[in-house]
């Protein structure tokens, strides 16, 4: 991965031009925008149809699509379409927030390891080696099973919906920061001995100043690309955790936990087993295509 060597204005315009010519990437971006619009229209649609998305109705489980319930109802008699929209809000939000939290952590650690080297660097490399090699899902499940009250949180918080959301965000961030950290470390190593960095230091610039003003902006390219690809991976992590019952906990819907009852749905209402997963699939593949397009647009050699 190269570190950009040219000025912002023209480089970004050039990259944008290249990206716009990439039809797959542009189509993916359009799909993602549509998906965001789709999940955000949950509130208005619920108001329009006058449906409470959380109201269960055990008399109308697995109803087929009707004029009122466009995609029918789920295993608790709730409107499937609205659940899909609200669940999408959760899944996309987890994807974004966990990427940002994990990305920030990775950037910070990568910068420190790359710039100062020595023990911090050696420790980082050992840890990332470990994370790359380890089976992450069992680790995620153990982390998800951790009892928050044993860590000093109040029982009230530990069982709240917010804790459920942040728990997923935090454990995915803990497991997923290593990729970004490695990239940022590599970029920092390449940049730290450049003359413009030395010259800022010779003028008395502190390490924090040099990192924030010179190294981070020049390492933006790999961070953006890695960040995009991370969103897809995080959404997959969230969905599988929630599916297994260790992620977002009902009644809050997420695309993953809507499939909790999948084995039952397969025989009674196969369509319900398809929708949430299909949306995850479409989201992640669009994110991955967009990330790939960004990589090509940013790094013409690739």
């Amino acid at each position: 991965m190269s570190v950009a060597a040219d000025a912002p204005v023209s480089v970004w315009r050039l990259r944008w031009r290249r990206l716009r010519r990439d039809r797959t990437a542009m189509a993916s971006a359009a799909v993602l925008l549509l998906l965001v619009a789709f999940v955000l229209s949950a509130g208005p649609l619920a108001a329009l149809l006058g449906i409470d998305p959380d109201a269960t109705d055990l008399l109308s489980r697995y109803d087929p699509p009707t004029a009122r319930h466009w995609l029918g109802t789920d295993d608790a008699g709730r409107d499937e379409l609205l659940r899909l929209m609200y669940g999408g809000q959760t899944s996309l939000l987890v994807g974004l927030v966990a990427t940002i939290v994990g990305g920030a952590l990775g950037v910070l650690i990568g910068l420190i390891a790359g710039y100062f080297g020595g023990l911090a660097d050696a420790a980082l490399m050992r840890i990332t080696d470990g994370f790359i090699a380890l089976p992450l899902l069992p680790l995620l499940i153990v982390l998800a099973a951790v009892d928050l009250t044993k860590l000093g949180f109040s029982a009230e918080f530990a069982h709240s919906g917010a804790a459920g959301f942040w728990r997923v965000v935090v454990i995915i961030s803990i497991v997923d920061w290593t990729g970004v950290a490695r990239l940022v470390r590599a970029a920092t190593l390449e940049l730290r001995d450049r003359d413009f960095v030395l010259s800022a230091r010779a003028s008395g610039g502190s390490a924090a100043y040099v990192l924030a003003r010179h190294i981070l902006p020049n390492a933006a390219t790999p961070i953006i690309i890695a960040g995009t690809l991370t969103v897809g991976r995080v959404i997959l992590f969230e969905s599988v955790l929630s599916f297994l019952g260790f992620g977002i906990v009902p009644p809050t819907p997420s695309w993953g936990n809507m499939l909790n009852n999948a084995q039952e749905m397969v025989t009674t209402a196969p369509a319900l087993a398809i929708y949430p997963g299909l949306l995850i699939f479409i989201t992640v593949i669009a994110v991955n295509f967009l990330g790939d397009g960004l990589r090509n647009a940013f790094d013409p050699r690739g």
Binding site: A133, P138, V146, L236, S239, V240, A262, A273
Partner: protein, 317 residues
């Protein structure tokens, strides 16, 4: 070379040791403690009794000390007793390990064959139609949620077409090797398709790069046939880095196996760890996670050594 192997083995042992401590600590943070489970069936226990039991089981000692005792026992082969199975951990673990190895090895082989074939085909004309189609397949493999792919395959091949069984390891009352194979078909297909996505991209990239190299042009200039060039000259060189990447993805394969086993009700390591965590079966979860780590580390070690053997340019210090 001997020094390199020795160093890698020591390194692997160190990582395993650190991981065992981390996992031990994490397991201790799971809800409840071993006593809760034990006392659930015994009403009217006084706090005194609980304190006494804690002392007997060493639960009042600091974490590091408890870990040390556990480590000594584990090193002498005693991994404790599984609460949910009422059997020694190893008795539960070993058959599950065998089952997982079957699933993972089969999936690994299928996905390697699939990805090498597709990768080589895609690399023949980068940017062409076939390349685009294969690329779509690879991205799909990378992007599909494993549990959902399993669902779709079950819907299609078990519920709709009735070709294959939807779950279990064999039909009721046993069944021959053929029956077991039929039960393994869908899980292997699921895991292989997911794994092949990433592999295909690696093979394709490595092939494209290799086909640009000078020695390929030399082979062409000598008049070697295209098939011979691709298979004998290019593939051989392209596979060296790919093999490493594949072996390093063992951890991912294991994560996939966990989901696949859960979906298809196959009692392998993944399903075992999942059930153990759900059922607060500390000893079993701990041993399962450690074995999973061990297998992954060993496969990485194998990859390193294979890489060193395959590529004569690598000189080891």
């Amino acid at each position: 070379m001997a020094g390199f192997i020795l160093r890698r083995i020591v390194q692997t042992a160190c990582v395993l040791l650190v991981m065992s401590f981390v996992i031990y600590g994490l397991i201790g943070l799971m809800p409840g403690d071993p006593l809760d489970a034990m006392l659930a069936s015994v009403p009217n226990v006084t706090p005194d009794v609980i304190e006494h039991l804690k002392q007997i089981y060493g639960l009042d000692q600091p974490l590091l000390l408890r870990y040390w005792h556990w480590l000594l026992a584990a090193l002498s082969g005693d991994l404790g007793y599984s609460r949910t199975h009422s059997q020694p951990v190893l008795v539960v673990l070993l058959p599950a390990l065998l089952q997982s190895c079957k699933l993972m090895l089969a999936s690994f082989c299928v996905s390697v064959v699939l990805s090498v074939t597709l990768g080589v085909l895609a690399a023949r004309r980068p940017g062409g139609r076939l390349d685009a189609a294969i690329s779509l397949f690879a991205f799909a493999g990378l992007s599909v949620p494993v549990f959902w792919l399993a669902l779709v395959l079950i819907l299609l091949f078990a519920v709709q077409l009735h070709w294959l069984p939807a779950s279990g390891m064999s039909s009721l009352g046993g069944g021959g090797p053929g029956d077991q194979l039929r039960h393994l078909a869908l899980p292997v297909a699921t895991l292989a398709l997911v794994t092949a996505g990433g592999f295909t991209r690696y093979v394709r990239a490595a092939m494209i790069e290799t086909m640009r190299m000078d020695f390929i042009r030399t082979a062409r200039a000598k008049g070697a046939g295209e098939a011979r060039i691709v298979l004998r000259h290019a593939l051989r060189n392209a596979l060296i880095p790919v093999v490493t990447v594949m072996a390093l993805s063992f951890g991912t394969l294991f994560s996939g196996a966990l989901v696949t086993e859960t979906m298809f009700a196959q009692y392998g390591m993944g399903k075992m760890i999942y059930d153990a965590i759900l059922g607060n079966d500390y000893n079993l979860a701990l041993a399962g996670l450690l074995f999973a780590t061990l297998i992954t580390l060993l496969s990485n070690l194998g990859a390193d050594l294979a890489y060193a053997r395959l590529d004569p340019r690598i000189t080891l210090q």
